[in-house]
């Protein structure tokens, strides 16, 4: 065998080893979700059989429809969608002008504002739960969508402001200057020129905020006491504590709640790291 062919063979076998390794690692990461899928597909009775089986004996695709009758799943999803959408909208209303402004202007207090954003990015509702509970009872917002929306939007403000301002910064100032020479006001320049150009950043922020609210658990678990106000993360955790758990429906519902979010998350993957590390890596 000549050296060139040998080199080629080595390269190919290296690629093969990498592919196999990659597949095994993928399997490990997906395992809990594959296992959920298998459980979701089983008839209810076979989930409490001893010994259990790896795969369903009969595949019950209908479980993905039946979950809406068997569990209050539709109600949970409704609350989750309301909370997440409103969080997303409020988040954008607050972070868009702020992100734009700090990208484009110098003002007294800028350093203080940046520091406030950076420091609060690390604050977690989990640690501040008692303070949040106390504030919400003072404001009479316990067990309300509004309370959850305000908390979710506020704790995601830092990420949103940060990622948006880095997007606005990447738009050349000259484009805006041309617009303002043409007579556009500061606000018009912002809405007509900068917003459309920063669209990828806006979509990223919107999706990230939406997902954060979608998955939020501890605040809703503490504040939302009536089932009709609970998002699915809370509803699900309470269902598993019941005496008789219908695991197949529970996991069918869980998968319905996970899949759209995973797809959305993958779509903004490129910008996540820079937003979450406040630009200190990328």
């Amino acid at each position: 065998m000549n050296p060139k062919a040998k080199h080629k063979l080595q390269k190919r076998s290296k690629g093969f080893v990498l592919s196999i390794t990659g597949l095994l690692v993928s399997f490990l990461f997906l395992f809990p979700y594959l296992s959920m899928f298998s459980t979701a597909m089983k008839p209810n009775s076979s989930n409490t059989e001893i010994p259990p089986t790896y795969l369903p004996k009969a595949w019950e695709f209908g479980n993905f429809i039946k979950v809406f009758q068997e569990l209050p799943f539709g109600m949970y999803i409704r609350s989750t969608v309301i909370i997440s959408l409103c969080t997303m909208i409020l988040g954008l209303i607050a972070s868009l002008p702020a992100g734009y402004y700090i990208a484009r202007n110098k003002f007294r207090g800028r350093t203080a504002f940046l520091l406030l954003v950076l420091v609060t990015q690390m604050f977690s509702p989990t640690t501040l739960l008692i303070g949040i509970y106390r504030e919400m009872s003072v404001l009479h917002l316990i067990n309300s969508y509004l309370g959850l929306i305000l908390i979710n939007a506020s704790f995601n403000m830092a990420f949103s402001v940060w990622i948006l301002s880095s997007f606005f910064q990447s738009i050349p100032v000259e484009i805006e200057e041309a617009a303002s020479i043409d007579g556009a006001s500061r606000f018009q320049t912002f809405t007509k020129i900068s917003l459309p150009l920063a669209l990828p950043g806006i979509v990223t922020t919107a999706i990230f905020t939406f997902i954060a609210a979608w998955n939020e658990f501890v605040v809703a678990y503490t504040l939302a006491s009536s089932p009709s106000k609970q998002p699915f993360s809370v509803g699900l955790s309470l269902l598993t504590g019941l005496y008789e758990v219908k695991w197949n429906y529970l996991f069918a519902g869980s998968l319905i709640a996970i899949i759209p979010v995973v797809i959305l998350f993958i779509s903004i993957e490129k910008y996540l790291v820079s937003g979450l590390t406040a630009g200190s890596v990328k």
């Binding site: 990659g22 959920m36 406030l116």
Partner: protein
């Protein structure tokens, strides 16, 4: 006239100094939310830790340091602090150690690389409550697939219930904690790897010292900033982690798998001792605050400030 207005606006662009009052319409809403719903709860929490709160949540005046005293007298706090330290150190260290080769794999070129990247992202995107519920079901002592695998491999004869025993239960929590922390740190390291120029990576590979030495001598030093940032932010996430422990063991049996985060929750909302819980939460906040200071030191936020 238009030109004049244009000039006027230009002077308002980068370089000019606005007064805080001019900045307010743009920053107001964000400022309102951060101050109103992030800082206010923080202040409330600190105040609460010095207050006397009765079992129904009513305020009964000031308590001085009584809440802190009762926290130190709590017989379960010592074990909880010890476990929290283990939880933080083991999960973060293991996550970082596994992330390094994993990021390298995600950065390599091979068929199926995209699929691997998407698979690694899933536990990051999915609700932690759901992921933890799935692990709990997998490990179920009667019906779980984990026992099935071990029995088929003839490692065990009888099914085991790992979560009911505090020792094995806590170990399981550590493993799940590591598994769900990996995506974030791996993606930060991947971003770091991608920012290293290609010829430097190539030089490290073909360097006479061999790929292993080349990695530690050339690649890792360039990766260090990303590594440190990932480690610090991950520490904050891990320290605050609530759903994994809550869903899988609720910190039980008793308080034997609690960390300070779940312990504070139980003291407040189960034992109804809001004051004592607030004093522990203040302690938790202090730990986070130290981590934030380290992050600020590492991050390049001043670069943005200068622009």
């Amino acid at each position: 006239m238009n030109i004049l207005r244009g000039r006027f606006l230009l002077s308002k662009k980068v370089g000019a100094n606005d007064t805080p009052l001019q900045a307010l319409p743009w920053l107001g809403t964000a400022l309102f939310l951060i101050v109103g719903f992030v800082l206010w709860p923080t202040v409330e929490l600190f105040l609460m830790s010095f207050r006397r709160v009765d079992i129904s949540g009513l305020l009964k005046g000031w308590a001085g340091l009584d809440n802190y005293r009762s926290l130190f007298d709590n017989s379960d706090i010592k074990g909880t602090l010890f476990r929290t330290a283990i939880w933080l150190v083991v999960v973060v260290a293991a996550t970082m150690a596994i992330s390094l080769p994993l990021a390298q794999l995600l950065n390599a070129k091979f068929i199926g690389q995209k699929f691997l990247r998407y698979s690694v992202i899933v536990p990051w995107a999915a609700s932690l409550v759901i992921t933890s519920t799935s692990w709990k079901w997998i490990l179920n002592g009667y019906y779980g697939v984990f026992n099935l695998v071990l029995q088929d491999l003839h490692i065990i004869k009888e099914p085991v219930d790992l979560l009911s025993d505090p020792k094995t239960g806590f170990m399981v929590l550590l493993v799940v904690g590591i598994a769900v922390s990996l995506p974030f740190t791996t993606y930060v390291l991947l971003a770091g790897l991608q920012s290293i120029p290609h010829d430097i990576m190539e030089a490290a590979r073909v360097d006479g010292a061999g790929p292993w030495k080349g990695y530690w001598a050339i690649v890792f030093p360039l990766l260090r900033p990303a590594f440190l940032v990932a480690a610090v932010i991950n520490s904050v996430y891990v320290f605050n982690s609530f759903p994994i422990i809550w869903v899988m063991t609720q910190g039980g049996p008793g308080y034997e798998t609690d960390t300070t985060t779940t312990f504070a929750y139980k003291v407040a909302f189960r034992d109804q001792d809001i004051g004592q819980s607030a004093s522990l939460a203040v302690g938790n906040f202090m730990v986070i605050f130290v981590l934030i200071m380290i992050f600020l030191k590492l991050s390049k936020w001043r670069d943005l400030d200068k622009k």
